[in-house]
Structure formats: structure tokens, C-alpha cells
Symmetry: C2
Subunit: 478 residues, 2 copies
């Protein structure tokens, strides 16, 4: 240390300054490179982000034209600024969010403007001394009450922003009224500029490369299901091979994909809330059954919890003996493959919005395999072995049997979505040419044997399905 500082002192202030500058420049360069790298990552992860940024820039620039052009400016004056502010706070990534905020802002301004005007009028009747006191009281009561209403879960989910703007506009109109007698004029200017800002945002958001919350939810739910399918495929290969090959060096990243499913509840919920604001678009009607996606999401997550448990046996210290492993391998891999195919097909059915055609046969197969597994365990094949060594295998077997139940529930929920959202039916022979059980399957599936999806319920009622199948669609459409 001391030698170094002695060298420094010898080299003089200019050399030291240059060295310091060089270090700083190096650090700055590294920082710039890091930021550039991150920017690239953020953009590559989802290119729609770049487009969204440009859209926001465009909307703000368009609205600020009010300021530059004389004839437009003369109509609104300084209030034109509200239009710019509105675009900044209303323009969101998804159409649902933008529409929700725009409508909230517009309606809240309208209502609160009227109420504020009323409050101003009422207060002005009470004379010069009473006016500020009465106005203060109104503002206090309204702000406190509306702030409390924001805690109601239902209001929070859909109208939180509107309630905020309600307080804001009420204060603005009623309090300003004390100084400025042109309250009505001001309220009207505020409302019209806000409407212009909201309309610009919504139009640009919808007509230039729109991002629909409904699409995001739709794909999220389907992809989550797919991730579970991918895990199951990988699990089968991993669990029944490692002990033979020793340490397997495959890329195990596909085994991590399902982890995101575990914590997807909140994003599904908020997307479903936003999707409800969206008009009909692409393959979705205005009142698309978004709630049913949450149902499917919940069931998918329940399946993911089982898979999380399954995953812990991949790295368990207690490895079961190879001979036992090979005995249960057949029914286990059958269950895994059938359950994986079920999930993949359900995910695909949602993505393509067609009724899942061969899912029932996959579920039947997985149930048969589960019964085989049970029977195999029943025969007491393992009596000679140590029970401790069987535990992981038994736990895996038990989890797999549970997963079969889970996939069945998911399938039911997807079938319900298919009927609620009028999914298209596809020709069985086209989608599942390799299925031997086609005939059996058609009789079992009232949905997929029906060419006109809009008459599903009638077909259901006349079919000889189980009582649950008969009642469900009727109840849901009642």
C-alpha cells in the first residue's frame, strides 16, 4: 500500500488525474455496456414493449399539437394541458388497462364534476363566512368516504383509479369554485380535455398493434398447462434413467419451467380483471368467460403443487433399487406420458380454441395405467425389499395417481370453457389419426361429436351422459 502511494506521489498531479479519468471512463463504459445489454434483453424478451413505448410517444406528441396550433389552442387555452396529462396517466400496456383507466377517468370526472359543482353552489348559499367552512367539511367527508370505499375488494379490482380521480376532481371543482366563479366552464373544459386525452389513448392503443389483456390471460393459462406437460415428459426421462446412466448431463432447464406456475395467481387475476374491459377482438367476444380461465388456472396450480412435490424426488438422497424401479417403470411412464399428453392437448385446445378431441381417451388410458400401478403394488412384488427403499417410489406412485385426478379436473374445466366460449369442433380423424379408440371416444364425448357448437346444450340434454354432465351446462347458461 505504501509503495503504491509513494509511486503515485512521484507521478505528479497530471498523470494521476489522467489515471483517475481513465478509471472513471472505464467504469462509465462498463456501465453503458451493461445498460445497453439490459435494454436489449428487456426489448428482446417482449418486442411489444418497444412498440408500446413508441405508441405512448406518438399519443403524447399528437395531443400536444393542441398547444402548437392556434385554432385548437383557442378552444381550450391552458386547459389543453389536461389532455396531455390524461394521455400520460391513462396509456397502459394492454387495451384492457387503457380502456379501464380511460373510462374510469372520464366517468369519475363527469360525476365528481357535477357533484363538485353542486357542493360549490350549496356552499355559496351560506354566505361569505360559512362558505369555506362548509366547503372544507364537504371535501373532508367526501375524501374520507371515497378513500374508505377504495378498500372494498370489488371496487379496488375495477374502479380504484376512478375513485381516486373522483376525489381529485371533486376537490378541484369545489375548492377552485371559491376563487374562480367560472366553475361550470372550468368543469366542462376539464371534462372535454380529459375525454380527448382518453379517446386518443384508447384509439392509438387499439388500432396500432394492440396488446389485449385477454390474449395474455388466454396464452398464460394455456402455457402454464403446457409447462406442466413439459415437466412430466422430462421427469419421466430423468427419473427412470439417472440410476442407469449414472449422472445424466442433460439440460435440466425444462424442469424449472413449472416453477412460474406456482406463483401465477396474481397475474392471472389482474389480467382477468383487465380483460373484462375489452371489447370483442379477434377470437374473443365481449363477454368472453374470463372467469373460467381463473378456474382452470387454480386447478393447474393445484396440479403444479403436486409436481413441485414430485420434483423433490428427483434429487432425493434415497434412491430406490434399480430392479424395483424397472418393475414400476411401465405403469409410471404410461401415467406420465398420458397425463402429459392430456395437458398438452388441453393447452393446445385452448390455444386453437377448438374442443379437445382425444383428451378423454388419454384420461381413460392414464386411469387404466393408474389401476395397473395399483394392481402391481397390490401383488406384493416388493415384499422381499426394504420398506425404507420403497418409500420414495411409493410416494412418487401416489403423487402420480393424484396427478391423474388433477388432469381430469382440469379437463372438465376446459370442457366447460369450451362450451361457455363456443369453441369450434374439429374433425376427429384429422387431429387424432393415430388414436385407435376413436369410435369409443366419439360416443363418450357429446361435445366433439357435435358439429354446431351453438347447440351444445340441447345435445347434452338429449344425450345419455352422466347426470353431472347433463346438469352442468344447463345450470351455467341459466
Amino acid at each position: 500500500m505504501e509503495i503504491a502511494s509513494a509511486n503515485h506521489e512521484k507521478s505528479g498531479p497530471i498523470t494521476r488525474g489522467l489515471a483517475w479519468l481513465e478509471i472513471m471512463l472505464g467504469k462509465f463504459k462498463a456501465k453503458v455496456i451493461e445498460v445497453a445489454r439490459k435494454t436489449k434483453t428487456v426489448g428482446q424478451e417482449d418486442p411489444r414493449r418497444i412498440i408500446h413505448s413508441l405508441k405512448v410517444g406518438l399519443a403524447i406528441t399528437l395531443v400536444s399539437l393542441f398547444y402548437y396550433f392556434e385554432p385548437l389552442y383557442d378552444g381550450f387555452g391552458v386547459s389543453a394541458m389536461w389532455a396531455v396529462l390524461t394521455v400520460v396517466v391513462v396509456f397502459e400496456f394492454t387495451v384492457g388497462a387503457t380502456l379501464g383507466r380511460g373510462l374510469n377517468r372520464g366517468l369519475a370526472t363527469l360525476l365528481a364534476g357535477a357533484l363538485g359543482f353542486g357542493a360549490h353552489h350549496l356552499a355559496s348559499l351560506s354566505g361569505e363566512k360559512g362558505e369555506p367552512i362548509l366547503l372544507g367539511l364537504f371535501v373532508f367527508l367526501l375524501a374520507a368516504a371515497v378513500t374508505f370505499v377504495r378498500f372494498f375488494p370489488r371496487m379496488k379490482a375495477r374502479y380504484d383509479y376512478g375513485l381516486l380521480i373522483f376525489i381529485l376532481t371533486f376537490c378541484l371543482i369545489s375548492v377552485s369554485g371559491y376563487r374562480d366563479d367560472e366553475v361550470l366552464d372550468m368543469a366542462q373544459r376539464r371534462l372535454s380535455t380529459i375525454l380527448i386525452g382518453s379517446a386518443t389513448s384508447v384509439l392509438i392503443c387499439i388500432f396500432i398493434r394492440p396488446v389485449w389483456a385477454g390474449d395474455i390471460l388466454h396464452n398464460l393459462v394455456a402455457n402454464n398447462m403446457e409447462k406442466l406437460g413439459i415437466f412430466l415428459e422430462g421427469f419421466s426421462a430423468e427419473y427412470f434413467k439417472t440410476s442407469e446412466d449414472g449422472q445424466s448431463n442433460h439440460d435440466k432447464s425444462f424442469l424449472k419451467g413449472y416453477k412460474r406456475v406456482l406463483s401465477s395467481k396474481n397475474s392471472e387475476k389482474s389480467m382477468a380483471n383487465l380483460a373484462r374491459w375489452e371489447p370483442c377482438h379477434g377470437r374473443f367476444r365481449f363477454r368472453h368467460p374470463w372467469k373460467q380461465y381463473l378456474e382452470i388456472g387454480t386447478l393447474t396450480r393445484q396440479c403444479a403443487y403436486k409436481i413441485e412435490a414430485l420434483n423433490s424426488y428427483l434429487n432425493s438422497e434415497i434412491q430406490m433399487p434399480i430392479k424395483m424401479r424397472s418393475k414400476i417403470q411401465d405403469p409410471c411412464t404410461k401415467i406420465i406420458s398420458e397425463a402429459g399428453q392430456t395437458l398438452n392437448e388441453l393447452a393446445n385446445a385452448i390455444k386453437t380454441m377448438t374442443r379437445p378431441s382425444s383428451v378423454d381417451s388419454h384420461i381413460e388410458n392414464s386411469k387404466t395405467a393408474a389401476d395397473n400401478l395399483k394392481a402391481l403394488l397390490h401383488t406384493g412384488l416388493f415384499e422381499e425389499t426394504d420398506l425404507l427403499e420403497i418409500i420414495p417410489a411409493a410416494a412418487v406412485a401416489s403423487l402420480l395417481i393424484h396427478i391423474v385426478t388433477c388432469t381430469e379436473k382440469i379437463s372438465e374445466a376446459v370442457q366447460e370453457l369450451a362450451s361457455l366460449a363456443h369453441f369450434k369442433s374439429v374433425e376427429q380423424t384429422v387431429t387424432v389419426p393415430e388414436q385407435p379408440q376413436i369410435v369409443h371416444q366419439v360416443t363418450e364425448q357429446p361435445f366433439s361429436s357435435n358439429a354446431e357448437p351453438h347447440h351444445v346444450i340441447t345435445v347434452d340434454e338429449s344425450s345419455t351422459g352422466s347426470p353431472e354432465n347433463e346438469n352442468e351446462p344447463v345450470l351455467k347458461t341459466g
Copy 2:
């Protein structure tokens, strides 16, 4: 139907009108009662909500005084409205959120105001024709760039609101400058009114019954742990008794408590982000290790996933034979009770901010019980029984062994929190009078044997603990 309508026709328009009015009044009354009931529920769930609402009302009323009093009004004029708006948008439920928004708004206004003024000046140099074009270009570029930056996960977590206000203020100042030549004056007025609004919000938020995000996170993490403990207690009673008593009719609501833990990730994350804004308060320093709570939360959730799997065996159709159940009952209940006590004590340690004293002995006990369970399974006690019937028992046993590992990990994370946050040590004899392993435990726990928490690291290094224990605190404080 027809008879009813015939009766209606007979009764004349007045009677019908009255009947309709009665129905409407009834409906209205029912609606009012429902809203009142809901309001009561929302208030009772968390009485701080009522206080928060009153605080917001007070803050807005205080700031609107600017308008009513001549001397205050003269300083700011119409701009005083910005102070009211600032209170409305800045005042949040927790101190962290209010401070975060206030600081974001203040700093963003300062920076964007300066930049906007610069842009206005630069544009005005380019002549009358070039000015609007150049201003438009600046606004477009800045809005697009900053909107894109909002997608960076780190920026989004802490500075999202600031970035929004940055765009807003930049547009406001640079665009307004085109018409209004007193830009500097306007920027300064905007800044000072926003500072007044933010300061009022922050002061009222902190000094009148504050709600700290840190407190919420702290209690959330501790309560989640406690919920798992409660489940384990209930599980033990439920699983080993139902088959003897037949259908047990106990209240099973305590078995549902853990479900919330599964989806607590997002609230923990956002609270940790908000807590970082908060100054030192109560038992927390300014740089309290909030990140460590997330670590503990993640491990707790991993334990909750195992418990979710465990829960499915409570209602499993395959019930294991009573004689087998009674054989494994002892080690299983021991594991459950020790793991439950570990979780409860850890939760309590966090709540009271004292070092957990008897946790290590509970973990040791649960490990011993797990070994006993393994040994019991090892002896092949169950060879005569059907393997299929053993599966649920084996799965439960396996899950319990996993839960022991989980609680150990949680304990390590809590110990690290205890050392990072300098938890108090308590006299061992006071807290655990019934523990026979006190002597053993003191030698094993470098933290709790140390009376001065601030010298933990020195004690650690000189102690004869394992290498991991020695290195960890050193690394963390380096």
C-alpha cells in the same frame, strides 16, 4: 301467471304503483343493508382503514386551506391546486408507499422540470417555425424512452411512479413553454406546490397512527410460519384419529389457514419494496434487512407446498389400516409436533425480535424422530400387509421427512435474519424452562449464547462452529 296479471289489472293504477313502490323500497332497503354490512366487514377486518380514510380527508382539507386564506393564496395562485392533487395521488395506506410516491414525485418533478426548461430553451433558439417541430421531437423521444425504461424490472419496482411523473412534468414544462414565457416561474411554482403536498401527506401519514409496510411484512412472514405450525398441529390430530372416531366433526377451518401462504409471494415482494423507503421506526432501523424476509418467505412457501401435498392425504380414499397407522403414529406425531414447535418458535422469535433459543433442540428432536421413522420402516414391520395400503402412509412419512428438512432451512434463514437485524438474546432459562437440553444447546448456538448482539461476528469466528456457520456472517457483512 295469467291470474296474477288479471288481479293486477283489477287493482287499478294507484294500488299497482304502490305495490311497485313497495317492492322497490324493499329492494333498496335490502341493498342499503347489504352495503352497510359490507362496510362494517371492511372496517372490522382492519380498523386502520377507517383511520387512513380520516387521515386522507384531513390532509386534503388542510392543503385546500391554501385556497381559502388570502395570504397563502397570493403566493401560489391557481397553482395551489397542484398541492391538493399531490395529496390525493401521493397519500397511500403505508408510510413506505406514501414516502416512495412523495419522493418519486418530488425528484421527478425537479429533474424533469430542469430538463423541460432546457428543452424549451433549446427549441426557442431554432426560430418560430422550428420550435414546435423540435419540441414535438423532444417530447416524442423522451416519452418513448422513459416509457421503455418503465419495463426494467428494477425501475418498475421502485421508480415506476417517478418515471410517469417525469414524462408528465417534462411535457408540461416544455410544451407549456411554447405559449407561456414564464416557464421558469411555472416550473418553480409546480415544484413548490408539489413539495408542500408531498410533505403534508408524508407528515400526516407518519405522525398520525402510521401504518408501516415493514411492520406488515414482518408480521406477514411470521404469521405465515405460524399458519403452517397450526396446520401441522391440526393434521396430527386429524390424521391419526379419524379412522378410530369415524367421521370427526371438529371445526377444520384451521386446516385452511395455510392456503394463503401458497400465494403470498407478490404481497411479500411489494411490501419489501415499500419497506425500503421507510425511515427507522419502532424496532426497525433504516436499513433493516428486508430482503432476508423474502428469503424466509420463499422457504416458508416451499414448506407450504409440502403441506399442500400432505393435506391431500387427509381426504384420500385409500385409508391405511388402523394397526399400521398406530405403528407409525409415534414417530410421525413426534416429527409433526417438533416441526410445529420449531415453526411456532421461529414465528415468535421474529415477532418478538429475539433470537430463537430452543429451536435447535426442536430440530434435533424432529431429526431423531425422522431417523426413528426411517428405522421403523427399515425393520420391515409391514411385510405381511398389502403394499397398496401402505402407499399413503409411506407418502405421508416421506413428506414429513421432507418437512423436517424444510424447517431446518427456515431456521437457518431466521438465524441469519437474527444476526443481520441484531435480534436481542433472551435468557435461556426464562423462555425454555421445560427444555432438558439447555446445556447442549448453548454450546451449539453461538448466537443465543452471546449477550451483546453487535459482536456476533467476532464470537462466530472464534467459536468452533462448522465452516459454513463461520463464513456466512462474515460474507454477509463484508
